[in-house]
């Protein structure tokens, strides 16, 4: 027997992705400054939502505290850059392993909580990080700190080149995150994760080490989230405990994106991000009414279309953009009874 991943739609999908990547990579040549900033922000949200999706949608670990690792990444970047004079780009790379390392004791502790209580436990951890960050007087304490101008100027010879660099970095980090998740899901462990997603008890009874896979996914997600967090705050050039560990920005929006796009599907966060930003560009002027509307949309989608927009498309049309499904192809000799 052969296991095949690709379908006709996924072959078209991969082609489209290749074209999209080329178009996006050349954005500095056709887009203005505003477009680049918006696209870069979208990329970071695609990455954050994809990581949350891996955690909640596949591993069943519903976290409302991923802002802990976004903020941690940001603070690692500022600490390394300001206190140890490390190049900010290098600091982004270092933020990943630190996020992963910190996640190990955190996971050992909060994995003792089940289900929904786990979710609130992750929130407590994020609050602890926020409160600890406001005690860090070397990094501005509660009011936060800016990246020194000399450091920003040293990053690139001109403002335009720096902006191009940041844009490409955002695109690269997001593609790398998506690629890593894709490779993980295509692997043996990905099959186990999909099994856990569909039925945890059944997965366990087929011999999958559910606890260790969940643990590994939690740590890996923290790794990725910290890197993206470091990038986000390098782009903002300023950090404070309230922005770094904001539950609205890094969890509520991210969950909204994943729910709208489709939880438990790799394409979901991409669709969700596009919808989220379209809504934001149109209605953000409404302020808190806009947020209220967002909460209502999320509830409606969760109740009537729990698989999100992409889930509906898959069910109705059977499309998949990325070749992740596994199809068994029976060859003639298999049918005759040999394998």
């Amino acid at each position: 027997m052969i296991v095949e991943h690709a379908t006709r739609s996924s072959r078209i999908g991969v082609g489209l992705i290749a074209i999209a990547v080329i178009v996006l990579a050349s954005a500095p040549y056709w887009g203005d400054r505003q477009t680049l900033r918006l696209l870069a922000e979208m990329f970071t949200f695609i990455a954050l939502a994809s990581l949350w999706n891996l955690l909640a949608g596949y591993a069943g670990l519903v976290s409302v505290g991923q802002q802990a690792f976004v903020g941690l990444g940001g603070y690692v970047l500022f600490a390394l850059a300001i206190l140890f004079d490390v190049n900010p780009i290098l600091a982004i790379v270092v933020a990943g392993p630190i996020g992963g390392l910190v996640a190990i004791p955190v996971a050992l502790l909060i994995f003792r909580l089940r289900g929904a209580y786990f979710a609130i436990g992750t929130w407590v951890v994020a609050e602890v990080f926020r409160l600890l960050a406001s005690q860090l007087s070397v990094l501005g304490g509660g009011s936060g700190i800016s990246l020194p101008a000399s450091m920003v100027l040293a990053m690139a010879p001109s403002r335009q080149i720096r902006e191009f660099e940041m844009y490409w970095l955002a695109l690269f980090l997001t593609l790398a995150t998506l690629a890593a998740i894709f490779v993980l899901l295509r692997s043996r462990h990905g099959l186990a994760l999909t099994a856990i997603r569909d039925n945890e008890l059944a997965a366990q009874s087929t011999g999958i080490g559910v606890w260790s896979i969940k643990f590994a996914v939690y740590v890996l997600t923290a790794f990725g989230t910290a890197i993206i967090g470091a990038f986000i705050f390098l782009q903002k050039l300023r950090i404070s405990p309230d922005t770094a560990f904001s539950v609205n920005d890094w969890t509520a929006f991210v969950i909204f994106i994943a729910v709208i796009g489709g939880i438990g599907r790799i394409e979901g966060p991409i669709i969700g991000t596009i919808v989220f930003f379209a809504l934001r560009q149109t209605f953000a002027g409404l302020g808190s009414l806009y947020l209220l509307m967002m909460g209502a949309v999320a509830i409606v989608v969760m109740l009537w279309a729990p698989k999100g927009l992409w889930g509906m498309i898959v069910e109705r049309l059977g499309w998949q953009i990325l070749p992740l499904q596994r199809h068994l192809l029976l060859r003639k000799k298999d049918v005759r009874g040999k394998s």
Partner: protein, 288 residues
């Protein structure tokens, strides 16, 4: 004496936390639902009381006569109209729907009442104190609040173990399909549980609003206090929840005494330590 004072104040505020927690633990016990909007509903109760006191010129504590039934009705309607549809084997729908609800309540309150801090004025009772010992004074209001908290917990205990309604709640909690076979309408039982939870929240919300300033954004922190008190005390035990609230209140008071920045942190740290050394809580009754 200063430390004794700190501890006594911590115990008294712990009563408020226990009321936050009792509502959360009640609905978790009956339907395994964790309500992320719990803290925001506490704040909503405070605003309902604000409207009533302003419109009718009532005293905040008297306004409870109206706030409690209003919140209970909201709870019943919320459960029947929305949350019942989220219950099932899947963990995500109830969690994400209540998360969405939390955002709706926060921003709805923001839209109606702006981000300004409010406080309910309870009049002379706010500044009355009793002398307990040399240099140890207790405010009348914190004392009433603590007594009410103990009464609420005791009331819930009696309701659960001595009444027909309590039997229905416990039966649904133990085995939902069998409870249904015995003729219980579980949709109604769940809605009653939510109504009870919001009635307790109403009391807690009014005391919170008399005690300190509030604004639309303070809900999530109350949810976290409630959650910590539940886990410290142990799932399923009402008296454990009271103990959990008190432990949380005392740790925060001690933390604040050492350094104002450490008030919340101290509470979180005690919670994490208990989670590390005794994950089932101090006085557990049921698992998971």
């Amino acid at each position: 004496m200063q430390w004794l004072n700190v501890i006594v104040q911590g115990v008294l505020i712990g009563g408020l936390y226990a009321m936050f927690a009792a509502g959360l633990s009640l609905i978790f016990g009956v339907m395994r639902l964790v309500n992320i909007a719990h803290g925001d509903l506490i704040v909503l109760a405070a605003y309902v009381s604000l409207i009533i006191t302003q419109a009718l010129g009532m005293d905040p504590l008297t306004s409870l006569v109206l706030v409690v039934p209003i919140m209970a009705l909201i709870g019943y309607a919320l459960q029947r109209g929305l949350l019942n549809y989220t219950l099932g084997d899947d963990l995500l729908p109830p969690l994400l729907v209540t998360f969405g609800l939390s955002i709706i309540i926060q921003n709805g309150l923001l839209e109606l009442f702006t981000a300004d801090s409010r406080k309910l004025q309870a009049g002379a009772i706010e500044i009355q104190t009793f002398k307990l010992a040399q240099d140890l004074w207790i405010g009348a209001l914190p004392l009433i609040q603590f007594a009410v908290a103990v009464a609420v917990i005791a009331g819930l205990q009696v309701l659960f173990y001595r009444t027909a309604l309590g039997r229905a709640l416990r039966a649904t909690s133990d085995d939902q399909p069998v409870a249904q076979l015995m003729g219980l309408d579980t949709r109604h039982v769940f809605a009653v549980a939510m109504a009870l939870s919001l009635a307790v929240i109403a009391v807690a919300g009014v005391f919170l609003a008399v005690r300190a300033n509030f604004d639309p954004a303070i809900g999530p922190a109350r949810l976290i206090f409630a959650f910590e008190a539940v886990i410290i005390g142990g799932l399923g035990s009402m008296w454990g929840t009271l103990a959990g609230g008190i432990i949380l209140g005392v740790s925060q008071a001690i933390g604040a005494q050492i350094d104002p920045g450490w008030q919340l942190l101290a509470g979180h740290i005690v919670f994490l330590v208990i989670l590390a050394v005794r994950p089932q809580g101090l006085f557990p009754k049921v698992s998971g």
